[in-house]
């Protein structure tokens, strides 16, 4: 682990890095441009709506995970714990609170502007509400709550859709109008939703390319590294459509050439295991964590975490013909807003559709929304599909809960289980 090899990147990774750098630079210059800043969350994000008002969205959990990847989260978490936050609670919250207390210097070293509006999209995570209640005490700005009902009975009922639409009409849109000084422009929103749908088609194509053998992508590590992130901040823009079209072309080329996924240390030459992963990744040791997989030729062909911003591969597409209704349905489609039976079915279907050899749960210490119930889901998927299942534990951005040796031991055992299950030659068929 001591030698750090040169990091290998694909064309799309370079493009997405530039886009994100420009995004953070744009944020840092809102003081001069006068552009309004809206803090909101990835699940249930109303990116097109915010952008249609000419405002800039900021996603605190993305700032937190970026801080984790850049080894800054521990300092922020300690700062939040000093002011009374418990060790037990969500580390995204503490990282964000600590970052704010330390001057709100973002992951790229530039200051993130204070919000003009806190838009609490309360979708699939109860802690979101507490998070923004805490921020509301720290920033002097209005807060608007969008309560997105949970799909406990499976589908989104007409009453649930109506409830979200009513809130958009009576709360969210008026709040955006007031903060930006612009009127609601439904035609502009429709155009952006149309662009979102185009990007959604291509993004789903990219993720579903993992059904190929070998898979040309890693649907978890690469999924959160360069396939998914652009989507949240740029959805509804031409730039986003262009990015996913280009990524799709890159992937098509890899499929045509029979290439496996690219990793920071180059391409995986031999796809040894095909895995489905449930749960967020660890960010503080992201590369070390990924390496535990790619060193063994383990490729994640599908993951649920890439659906927290919307379950597009389950069929959802933004529909410009019904702008508010489609945003309501989008919010309710996010993975952590699905019932446990639905989440279990998603996992079982992934195992079958992507011809996975096993299911691995990365259980996150500070994310009850994901973690509560995972052991039940694990057993049920094992019963339904017959594949071996594995269980590891880490945390989002608290490095105290990343134990390399423990993870390696557990993963080694899991890979041994897979070896016993797989007949020779099956995994590279």
């Amino acid at each position: 682990m001591s030698e750090t090899p040169r990091i290998v990147k694909e064309k799309s990774m370079v493009v997405q890095k530039k886009m994100l750098a420009a995004y953070y630079k744009g944020l840092a210059s809102t003081g001069e441009t006068g552009q309004k800043v809206v803090y909101t969350f990835v699940p249930g994000n109303l990116t097109e709506l915010i952008l249609s008002f000419g405002a800039q969205p900021v996603y605190p959990e993305i700032n937190a995970l970026q801080s984790g990847m850049r080894k800054k989260s521990m300092e922020f978490i300690r700062q939040a714990e000093k002011m009374g936050h418990s060790e037990d609670v969500c580390t995204y919250v503490k990282c964000d609170v600590g970052m704010m207390l330390k001057g709100n210097v973002g992951p790229t070293g530039e200051t993130i502007p204070a919000p003009d509006l806190l838009l609490c999209s309360y979708t699939g995570c109860f802690t979101f509400m507490k998070w923004f209640e805490n921020l509301a005490k720290m920033y002097d700005c209005p807060v608007v709550m969008l309560h997105v009902p949970y799909r406990s009975a499976g589908e989104a009922s007409p009453a649930m859709v109506q409830y979200v639409v009513d809130q958009l009409r009576t709360r969210v849109i008026p709040a955006l109008e007031k903060v930006t000084g612009r009127p609601y422009d439904e035609e502009r929103l429709r155009t952006m939703l149309g662009l979102a749908a185009q990007a959604e088609d291509d993004m789903v194509y990219c993720f579903e390319s993992a059904k190929n053998r070998p898979s040309p992508i890693d649907g978890y590590f690469a999924g959160v590294y360069y396939i998914g992130p652009i989507f949240t901040a740029f959805r509804g823009t031409e730039e986003c459509v262009t990015y996913y079209r280009s990524l799709r072309e890159d992937i098509d080329e890899r499929i045509a050439r029979g290439l496996g996924p690219i990793t920071p240390e180059g391409q995986i030459e031999k796809e040894q295991y095909r895995l489905v992963v449930e749960g967020p990744p660890n960010w503080t040791n992201f590369r070390e964590f990924w390496k535990l997989f790619y060193d063994r030729g383990a490729v994640v062909v599908a993951s649920t975490y890439t659906n927290v911003g919307g379950s597009y591969d389950l069929g959802f597409r933004h529909d410009p013909a019904h702008p508010l209704e489609t945003m309501a349905r989008y919010c309710m489609s996010c993975y952590t807003n699905l019932s446990l039976p639905q989440r279990t079915a998603v996992l079982s279907n992934y195992v079958r559709d992507y011809h996975a050899d096993g299911l691995l749960v990365n259980s996150i210490k500070s994310c009850n929304s994901f973690s509560a119930g995972q052991l039940q889901m694990l057993r049920r998927v094992e019963e339904e599909t017959g594949v071996p299942v594995g269980f590891i534990e880490s945390d989002l951005v608290d490095p105290r809960y990343f134990s390399y040796a423990n993870l390696k031991n557990r993963l080694d055992s899991f890979f041994q289980m897979l070896d016993q299950k797989l007949t020779p030659g099956e995994s590279d068929a």
Binding site: W131, N134, S152, Y163, D166, T170, L340, S369
Partner: protein
Amino acid sequence: MKHQRLDALARADRVLNDLSYGYVQDWLGRGADRHAVGYLPIYAPREIIAAAGMIPVGVFGAGDALDIVKGDAYFQSYICHIPRSVIEMALDGRFATFSAFIFPAICDVIRNLSGMWQMNFPDQYVKYLDYPQNFDPEVGGRFYRRELEDLLENLVRISGREVSDAELHAATARYNENRRLLDRLYDARSRAPHNFPMSEVYRVVRAGSVLTVDDHNRLILDYLAAAEAEPLPDQDRIRVYLVGAFCEQPPLGLLKTLEQAGCALVGDDLLLGMRFIRGDVATEGDPLDALVAAYLTKCGWSSAVYDGDNPREDKLVEDVRACKADGVIFCCPSFCDPALLDRPMLQKRLDEERVPYASFQYSENTGQFQVIREQAGTFSDSIKLWE
């Protein structure tokens, strides 16, 4: 009268110490068309359940009375304790005679427990009751009304008989009486905490999570009468408001420890759901609209309810002042996001108001109270000596 106080407490204990819900089984045995409906913390509209001819049963876990074996296989170590004891009890068949379960929207753990219930106990009707975080009657109110209609429709489906408005009004009236009696009990406790120790009041209140509302009303009246007739001797204790224990309940030993350490509990959010609606619910007009209006306008402050323009730290300070508390104890279950994420905000406000506070965490099966005794004792001494 002393034995009458003990008799009332014994009636409460018989219910509370019976993890097989013998009282509920007896009630069910009195008619083939009877049903039991379990509900998790914090709040459930028990009026609807009772009006449907069913018995609402509050499920608060097993406390320290059950060794958890199976439950630990369902939940990671960093998830609070209540779901593992609830699932343990369920797997042991303790809820086998229940027809339905309500999981109120309070946190992600209880939410996901509703899904586990759907997977493990498909014969029981599972209702995740999504309380609106929007308090506009035309928006959140309309949504909540539909939630209540859905609950009622499914209870009617289970029982096979319609529920009239008159039955809903009658049930609401009985729960109004219950709310009034609980207010009376809490007022009495606040006025004379030595005579209404929390270790007693808590049992009397919690018994209402299992007893029918009429039996509970009688129990409260009997306890009040016995306590008022023969008061206990005064004690030299500080007056404390306890915050954070609204869902997973602390073991009774913990409450006794606080009192023994010199802290008289004069305000708290224990068993908050029993007192969630403050005041009467209307007993005329549309009964479901009345319950909706009560939720929108009369629900107390809680970590599970978006506080928006009505900050809960203001409410805490108001409550602390109203019950003349000398200080606040934050007594939160480990890994409870709603309580623990509220704590820094509430503490900041108490600092501003110069209200002293202490904090600790527990789980429902905490068995060692020495550290808490020392902490609470130090807190009590510091207030007695320096304030």
